[in-house]
């Protein structure tokens, strides 16, 4: 099997401005944050992001890298409204393509199955159709007259997902409560890059979790990045929970341009994920000192 290991910056070198990027996870849960931070180190811009959005979307909006967002929602979970995304919406700086959460799933599924759309009732009667004027409905061909929303296949160039474990060939393993839609993101995209908490030998995967946790086959994985703490500050159970204090600090940067400048300098303008982890360890040391 091919060894697909690479670094965050090598992944980002495969991306280009204007691309449609799918990002796995859900809200502030198991987001491939080390890859998002690597995107922020690059000069990528004009992106179309497809996501059940959290701080991935917020950070990319705040750094002005986004042209368009296709989303089921954008939230930090414990902070219901993603503050940087709110600003982007309220200033009209991004093109918003919002779907019902379940309809979004069908857009991914249609892409995976290579069909132009999937029909659903989700969206009928709501303003999802009003404000997505390119969305069409279809009438059942079976004589019952039912009108349904035709959710178009999401056309994704590259997907980024974060797993708990993976092998070097890109078999991905989730150990938390929910895979979310990461397998569909991986299968829907032209190419997929997978970060993970730890790369393990293929023969050791089943020591980490049951066979039911092996949800992304290597067939869909083009690169594997070992990134311990790679989902920080989003949660990545059972490896770690959400860093709520850090998330609050991040959220507060939306209210204060100086705070955002400081946050960028402290946490984003760093050369690598290792440097980020070292900075984080320093912070934890300081916090522990303050507690004593």
């Amino acid at each position: 099997m091919a060894d697909k290991r690479m670094t965050e910056d090598e992944v980002v070198a495969e991306l280009s401005s204007g691309m449609t990027i799918g990002i796995g996870g859900w809200g502030s849960r198991r987001k491939p944050m080390s890859l998002v931070r690597a995107m922020l180190r690059s000069d990528l811009t004009d992106l179309h992001v497809v996501s059940y959005g959290g701080p991935d979307v917020g950070l990319l909006c705040a750094a002005d890298r986004v042209r368009k967002i296709t989303y089921g929602f954008v939230s930090l979970d414990s902070i219901p409204l993603e503050p940087h995304f709110r600003i982007a919406r309220q200033t009209g700086s991004v093109d918003a393509r919002e779907f019902d959460e379940g309809a979004f799933y069908l857009g991914l599924l249609a892409a995976v199955h290579r069909v132009p759309f999937y029909p659903t009732r989700a969206g009928l009667g709501s303003d999802m159709l009003t404000y997505n004027p390119d969305l069409k409905t279809v009438t059942s061909p079976y004589g019952d007259g039912t009108e349904l929303v035709a959710v178009p296949a999401f056309d994704i160039d590259v997907s980024l997902v974060h797993m708990n474990r993976a092998d070097a060939a890109g078999n991905g393993q989730f150990l938390g409560p929910d895979l979310y839609f990461d397998d569909l993101f991986a299968m829907a995209a032209e190419r997929t890059f997978m970060s993970c908490e730890r790369v393990v030998a293929t023969e050791d995967l089943l020591q980490e979790g049951s066979v039911h946790t092996l949800k992304i086959p290597r067939l869909h994985t083009d690169g594997v990045v070992e990134a311990p703490g790679g989902a920080h500050f989003t949660e990545c159970p059972p490896d770690y929970g959400r860093d709520e204090a850090f998330q609050r600090e991040y959220a507060a940067t939306a209210r204060d341009p100086d705070a955002w400048t400081r946050f960028r300098a402290d946490w984003l303008d760093l050369p690598s994920h290792d440097a980020y982890r070292a900075r984080l360890a320093e912070r934890e040391h300081k916090t522990a000192g303050a507690d004593r």
């Binding site: 859900w26 929602f73 954008v74 200033t91 019902d100 959460e101 009732r121 009667g125 709501s126």
Partner: protein, 259 residues
């Protein structure tokens, strides 16, 4: 036991929305509605299925705030009876075996609900939660709403329709809206339903201690008001025990309750 407080009366009124549901996924959003769902199951609707609000269906009555961290670990005293990750939840929703309770920043007399945005959707004055799962929930299965600030939320017309009301659904081709049902709206003042010939909002019961005038003053649209409006029922002693000692000993329900 001390007399029922208004938050406990509201909790029972919301639990009543699940009466008769039998065996389905009771899926309220937010601590207050979750407490109402757990109360309904622990008292008069024992076959409901409820989750820990993450991904696990849990048997028995869980306290607010408790979640499953290690499924199958007996040390937590929590019995997991099923696994409901988000993908399964969507499948459940579309199968119809589900009743949700959502919030609403705005709702009109037809039951059109908005928690997406205030102002023009294209460049909103305030971006709120977004459409979230409301469009798909409301068109596919039974929905109720918990609205703890009626005067602010009841409006003549909503800025954005997240969950469609009866007028919008009536305008769809036949068959498209057949699974739509808005069962109940509960506010800090009263309970409402849509059991009128034109499926517009009707006053169902007024919470004890609240006057009809206060209800009408907080309602800017034409409301169907029956001749004899009953009072919302008081919690039983058993329900008060369940609320105070089992489901919400920390009083989390009171934080969300803004009177």
């Amino acid at each position: 036991m001390s007399e029922a407080a208004i938050d406990e009366i509201c909790l029972v009124a919301l639990a009543e929305a699940f009466r008769g549901d039998g065996e389905l996924l009771c899926h309220p959003m937010g601590p207050f509605p979750v407490a109402a769902g757990r109360l309904a199951r622990a008292s008069f609707e024992p076959d409901l299925m409820l989750t820990d609000t993450i991904a696990y269906a849990v048997a028995g009555t869980l306290a607010l705030g408790a979640t499953v961290t290690r499924p199958g670990a007996a040390d937590e005293g929590i019995v997991v009876e099923g696994y409901l990750p988000f993908r399964t939840v969507f499948d459940q929703a579309w199968s119809g075996h589900r009743h949700v309770v959502m919030g609403a920043s705005q709702i009109d007399r037809h039951g059109n609900q908005n928690f997406a945005a205030i102002g023009d959707y294209r460049k909103p004055k305030a971006q709120l939660l977004g459409l979230r799962g409301a469009p798909g929930n409301v068109i596919n299965h039974t929905t109720s709403y918990w609205i703890p600030s009626q005067a602010r939320a009841f409006v003549e017309s909503v800025d954005v329709v997240s969950g469609p009301g009866y007028d919008r659904v009536a305008a769809l081709p036949e068959g498209s809206g057949r699974y739509h049902e808005i069962r109940r709206v509960v506010t800090e003042l009263a309970a409402y339903d849509f059991e009128t010939p034109d499926r517009t909002m009707r006053l169902r019961s007024v919470h004890p201690g609240v006057s009809l005038d206060a209800v009408l003053a907080a309602t800017p649209f034409e409301l169907a008001v029956p001749e004899d409006v009953p009072a919302s029922r008081l919690p039983t002693a058993e329900e008060l025990h369940l609320i105070r000692e089992v489901i919400d000993p920390k009083g989390i329900r009171k934080h969300e309750f803004r009177s």
